[in-house]
């Protein structure tokens, strides 16, 4: 926003307005995704209904793939910036975006999650030729209108442009270089997700409830985030992360404004990453939302919000590290323990995965306590690696959830999953691999990611966090193993679970995520290199 700032408000002659200088090539991935979203809206308006769903899929897939290619090109062309720490790339678009190493890696990661999400959204073979989304969200559940709409095979193909908007928001969030941009990005990523949560075809009451809870709580927490921004602005006089950083390290006075502002910004971000005590929405929303949306949201939101959090707290508030670090430590500890213990008490698969997502937020916060520079594992690279490994496993796990069904749609009670190993060994093995990755068993991506965040934290002197982290993962492992035993050894109830035969779309998602999870465990080298190469944030 500094570009907009006018030198003086009164008394100076108006200077001619400079045209903003934007390097479109550098931000092309973002533009492509938002373009695909807008195009999706037009498709909704102009393409006949019969072709709409397919066209939307095509637009979304082409958009994501094109943006991915653009991201790779942008990433390859980043200049190395030598400073106190090595970085790549830097601010662009008048300083409002920072296209640096971590941002580009996060873009690629989000686009990968986005592609998997779109593939899950497009699945139509599971529910008798209909997608997982309701025919018409405006009709009350169980009404004649709803049945009519179902009969006509009306579909909400708007989910694709909504997903693209959310994806664009996530990418923006991870690369925004000023606080106001971050707020806008936060809303752009959240608003479509609120809507998508309420669109489930089955169990619509729960779905609507989830949407309302997510919306009200999300809006509530982003108000805190915004108020925090206002205070930090009051302290520093600017929204730019670089300017705030300068103010933090040089300015005297106004500390209270800064501290309160940091705390409130932290609240908004911790809500998005689902850290205790701002986690309460997570299980409810994960359970109520249509499973493909849950998959996309679990992986994408967490990734975008974590990178944004690291960026704000390392770049802008890096100088005040010892003011916020204790709070982050405390929250990390509570979150890990709570997530691990609470997941033990769950009987619903989706809720269990939600609590595991909470626990993972805790582990990621441990990573945040690590070193910001050095030739070992830095916080940023550890967290980036963790996000890829976690996101892939989470999407895969939810993809498996979409396949285990009974007459009423997905069956998510854990007891009903007993004997899945007999019914569909491949699926059960895939789910086991995801669970083992969540648990951090060696040879899965989860192990390397836990190792790297713990190593980063230990290097950064946060060994108590590592101790708690190891304890919490030990606790959690126990439960994951119980679920594995349930899948393979417990006698099935009644007829046991039925596994729907999906189209290649869902199969490919499961296959890709399994492959990623194992490759990251056995041969993590390339990705570790990449996240190291990404270097630090550049402001």
């Amino acid at each position: 926003m500094s570009a907009v700032s006018v030198q003086a408000i009164v008394g100076a002659a108006p200077s001619p307005i400079e045209a903003p200088d934007v390097d479109y090539a550098t931000i092309s991935p973002l533009l492509i995704i938002l373009g695909a979203a807008v195009l999706g809206v037009l498709v909704e308006a102009f393409v006949p209904r019969a072709y709409r769903f397919v066209t939307q899929i095509a637009v979304a897939v082409v958009g994501v793939v094109a943006a991915f290619v653009a991201t790779v090109v942008v990433g390859a062309g980043l200049d190395t910036v030598d400073g106190e720490v090595t970085g790549r790339g830097g601010p662009t678009a008048m300083g409002s975006l920072s296209v640096d190493g971590p941002a580009v890696v996060t873009w690629a990661m989000l686009l990968f999650f986005g592609l998997l999400g779109v593939l899950l959204f497009a699945e139509r073979r599971l529910d008798g030729g209909l997608s997982a989304f309701t025919s018409q969200a405006s009709t009350p559940p169980g009404s004649a209108d709803e049945r009519h709409a179902t009969r006509l095979r009306i579909e909400h193909s708007e989910v694709f442009p909504l997903a693209m908007f959310a994806l664009g928001g996530m990418m923006f969030f991870a690369s925004a270089n000023d606080l106001l941009g971050m707020f806008v990005a936060l809303e752009v990523l959240s608003l479509p997700l609120y809507l998508m949560c309420g669109l489930a075809r089955r169990r619509r009451l729960l779905s609507q409830e989830a949407a309302m809870k997510y919306f009200l709580l999300g809006a509530f927490s982003s108000a805190f985030f915004l108020y925090g921004i206002a205070m930090v602005y009051g302290y520093a006089g600017s929204f730019g992360l670089a300017e705030i950083s300068t103010a933090v390290s040089s300015q005297i006075g106004g500390q209270n404004l800064l501290l309160a502002g940091m705390a409130l910004i932290l609240v908004g971000l911790l809500f998005k990453v689902a850290a205790v005590p701002f986690h309460a929405w997570t299980p409810d929303v994960y359970q109520g939302a249509p499973t493909p949306v849950t998959a996309f949201m679990a992986a994408g939101t967490k990734a975008a919000a974590f990178v944004a959090m690291l960026r704000i707290f390392f770049v802008a508030f890096g100088g005040a590290r010892w003011d916020w670090a204790p709070a982050v430590w405390a929250i990390a500890i509570i979150t890990m323990l709570f997530g691990a213990i609470a997941s033990i008490a769950q009987t619903d698969v989706k809720r269990m995965l939600a609590y595991s997502s909470i626990a993972h937020a805790g582990f990621l916060l441990v990573g945040m306590a690590g070193l910001t520079s050095g030739d070992g594992v830095t916080s940023v690279s550890a967290v980036l690696f963790y996000l890829v490994a976690y996101g892939a496993a989470a999407i895969g796990a939810f993809a498996v959830v979409t396949l285990v069904r009974d007459a009423g749609g997905e069956t998510t009670h854990l007891g009903r999953w007993a004997g899945l190993g007999k019914e569909s060994p491949v699926l059960a093995v895939a789910f086991t691999i995801f669970l083992l990755s969540f648990a951090g068993i060696p040879l899965t991506g989860g192990f390397i990611s836990k190792w790297s965040v713990f190593a980063a934290a230990w290097d950064g002197g946060a060994w108590p966090l590592v101790v708690v982290g190891v304890v919490a993962s030990a606790l959690a492992l126990f439960f994951y193993i119980r679920v594995v035993v349930l899948l393979f050894f417990a006698p099935p109830q009644g007829d046991g679970p039925t596994v729907a035969v999906p189209s290649p779309l869902t199969w490919s998602v499961v296959a890709i995520t399994v492959a990623v999870t194992i490759v990251l465990g056995v041969l993590p080298g390339p990705l570790l290199d990449l996240v190291q190469q990404a270097g630090a944030f550049v402001r």
């Binding site: 501290l259 701002f278 003011d323 594992v377 190291q532």
Partner: protein, 651 residues
């Protein structure tokens, strides 16, 4: 204990070992792990849906063949290692770089040296025999294929553990054997006690794993590497306190895996698993992983007197503790499990003596692997003939009906009590001697343990094979089929001749490059100690003879017994202590565990009524389903956060 000069000497000896790159035969050592791993994968995943498919009919043969093939590779490697120059007996083969972060990298490598070679032979050799035995023992189990898959998985994981050149890779194997052990203890899931035992083993082991994980973290933080060899080199430059901390953390890990006090309680319950599992995992191999860890980390323990003393104390306490429990149990497998704890206590004690004892720890570990596997399989054979009854009070006079089992069991018996000439005699004798040479009290504990061992093993022997028939009416004892007795015979033979390893100090010399060596002079000639040991053993055995062979054995355990017996029957209140120390504070946690057991897994049939379990109540108060509660949580959290940050400033 040891003098400072000898410490330095020993440490520098480790530094002398320079691993050479693998070539020729050694470049195929990865097959050791790969063969059982692939076989496990085929057995567990392949042909999943089809009951009575070809894998169900021949899967056990595949599993056994995999174990034997691995053994053959192990023998070839061992022979090749014998042919190597002494300086080139530590062979390492890098398979691929597992992870590389900055200056830190972990290589998936095979590290094959004198110590690994012995373990490989023990694991694959005894493992193969137990696979063969299991073909008979599990013949009628419908899930035989899965059982052999798990056994193969265990063999593969255990080999990863002993062939690891990096602590992180070792950790991989460590977790792997834990997983396999969990799955095998709970193999008969329908038995509730088996499921509970598996869970308990898993939880207690987690405590130990915590120690190992933190130890590895500490190595990484201090030295920037987790390579075992490099840690050994680096630790010599580190401060005393780092070495002590590492030693204690690794010891915690070892205690968990090896069922040493205070993490001993799971082993007795683990006997719920099928008997071949008890023999392979909970007697011969996995439970000795802790000893392996200590010996492998010799470089660390050499530098810390405190850590070594802790190991000695743990060893002494456990060896008496286990022996005590062994005296009081009527369940034949539990009596043997108590004895396993006790014997591993001996190994720990020896390992804690430093370079003077490492080789003897390994020596006893190997002979124990032979005779204890032998006795467990013998017990399995007895149970097989007694309709799976495990209560020794219901046995008696079986020697006529099960001659082969009796004779092989007797060989194991003579070996474990240390009858002169049998393998246990040599290995235990060495440990007691070096214990006396280092510290009188440790030696005394070991000596006392030998006497008690003789007592309770004689009791087991008498109750089972001698005396009156006390069988239930529908039991018709019979000798087991050949497929089960042949492994018994082989193991019995090994129990007899295993002591030959120490002839002309072969095993000491063989292991010296890995562990260093050191000799402490006793105040008296060695034969005096030997004589005393034999005398103490004789007293223990005679006492048991007087108490159990001369009197009638009541059919149910008498209740009017001494405090000692009562304590022994209650596992010396291990569970009570666990409960007070670990469980009470975490009662919320345990309740929810029970709750999940009740509803999530077994009780989903009984509906959601049980949903309101105690464990969930706390959670329920938070997760009410009301938006406004959640908003209040956010608001409260925000308030606390703001005030906390401001407080930092105001303070």
């Amino acid at each position: 204990m040891t003098s400072m000069s000898s410490i330095v000497l020993a440490a520098s000896e480790h530094a002398d070992v320079v691993p050479v790159a693998a070539d020729g035969v050694f470049s195929w050592m990865w097959l050791l792990v790969a063969i059982p791993a692939v076989s496990a994968a085929i057995l567990l995943i392949g042909d999943g849906a089809g009951d009575h498919g070809p894998l169900d009919r021949f899967g056990h043969l595949l599993g056994t063949a995999a174990a034997i093939a691995s053994f053959v590779v192990g023998v070839v490697g061992f022979v090749a290692l014998l042919g190597q120059d002494v300086a080139e007996r530590a062979v390492t083969q890098d398979l691929w770089t597992w992870m590389q972060v900055g200056g830190f990298d972990v290589t998936m490598s095979v590290y094959y040296d004198q110590l690994s070679a012995l373990f490989v032979l023990l694991i694959t050799g005894v493992g193969s025999l137990i696979h063969v035995y299991s073909i008979g023992y599990m013949a009628h189990d419908p899930r035989k294929r899965r059982f052999f898959g798990f056994l193969n998985l265990f063999i593969a994981a255990m080999l990863v553990l002993v062939l690891a050149g990096d602590y992180l890779v070792l950790f991989l194997g460590w977790e792997g054997v834990g997983l396999a052990s969990y799955l095998l203890i709970g193999f008969w899931q329908e038995k509730r006690s088996a499921a509970v035992a598996a869970k308990k083993a898993f939880i207690v082991n987690r405590v130990g794993d915590l120690g190992l994980a933190l130890g590895i973290m500490l190595m990484f933080a201090q030295f920037g590497t987790t390579n075992i060899h490099e840690v050994g080199l680096n630790v010599t430059n580190a401060s005393q306190s780092v070495a002590t901390a590492l030693g204690l953390l690794l010891l915690l890990g070892a205690c968990g895996k090896s069922a040493q006090v205070p993490l001993q309680s799971w082993l007795l319950d683990a006997m719920e698993g099928p008997t071949p599992v008890s023999a392979l995992i909970h007697a011969a191999t996995m439970v000795t992983a802790g000893v392996y860890l200590v010996v492998r980390s010799a470089a660390i323990y050499d530098l810390s007197e405190v850590a070594r003393t802790a190991v000695v104390i743990v060893g002494c306490v456990t060896l008496l503790f286990g022996a005590w429990i062994g005296c009081a149990k009527d369940d034949i497998k539990k009596a043997l499990a108590g004895s396993t704890m006790s014997q591993i206590g001996y190994m720990m004690l020896a390992a804690g003596l430093g370079p003077a004892g490492y080789a003897f720890a390994i020596f006893h570990l190997i002979t124990h692997g032979f005779f204890k596997a032998n006795m467990f399989l013998g017990a399995g054979s007895v149970m097989h003939g007694m309709n799976d009854d495990v209560d020794m009070r219901h046995y008696g006079a079986l020697r006529k009906l099960m001659p082969l089992t009796f004779i092989t069991f007797a060989m194991g018996y003579l070996a474990i009590i240390g009858f002169p000439g049998f393998s246990g005699f040599f290995s235990k004798d060495r440990i007691i001697e070096s214990a006396f040479a280092t510290n009188f009290w440790a030696g005394l504990a070991a000596l006392l343990g030998a006497g008690v061992t003789a007592f309770y093993m004689t009791r087991v022997m008498i109750l089972t094979f001698f005396g009156e028939r006390r069988w239930r009416e529908d039991v018709h004892p019979h000798e087991s089929p050949k497929i089960m007795t042949v492994p018994l015979i082989v193991l019995a033979a090994l129990s007899v001749v295993g002591g030959a390893l120490t002839f002309s100090d072969w095993i000491e010399d063989w292991l010296t490059p890995v562990t260093g060596s050191e000799h402490h002079e006793l105040g008296v000639p060695a034969w005096v100690i030997t004589l005393i040991i034999v005398a103490v053993v004789a007293v223990g055995a005679s006492l048991a003879y007087v108490l159990f062979a001369r009197r009638d054995v009541p059919d149910t355990a008498p209740q009017q017994v001494s405090v000692f017996t009562r304590a022994g029957r209650a596992d010396l209140y291990g569970d009570a202590v666990n409960e007070a120390v670990f469980m009470r504070p975490g009662q919320y946690l345990t309740r929810s565990l029970v709750y999940v057991d009740g509803t999530g897994i077994d009780g989903a049939v009984t509906g959601t009524a049980e949903l309101v379990g105690d464990g969930a109540r706390g959670l329920r108060r938070l997760q009410t389903g009301f938006v406004r509660t959640y908003a209040a949580e956010i608001f409260g959290g925000a308030l606390v956060l703001v005030l906390a940050l401001l407080a930092v400033n105001l303070a």
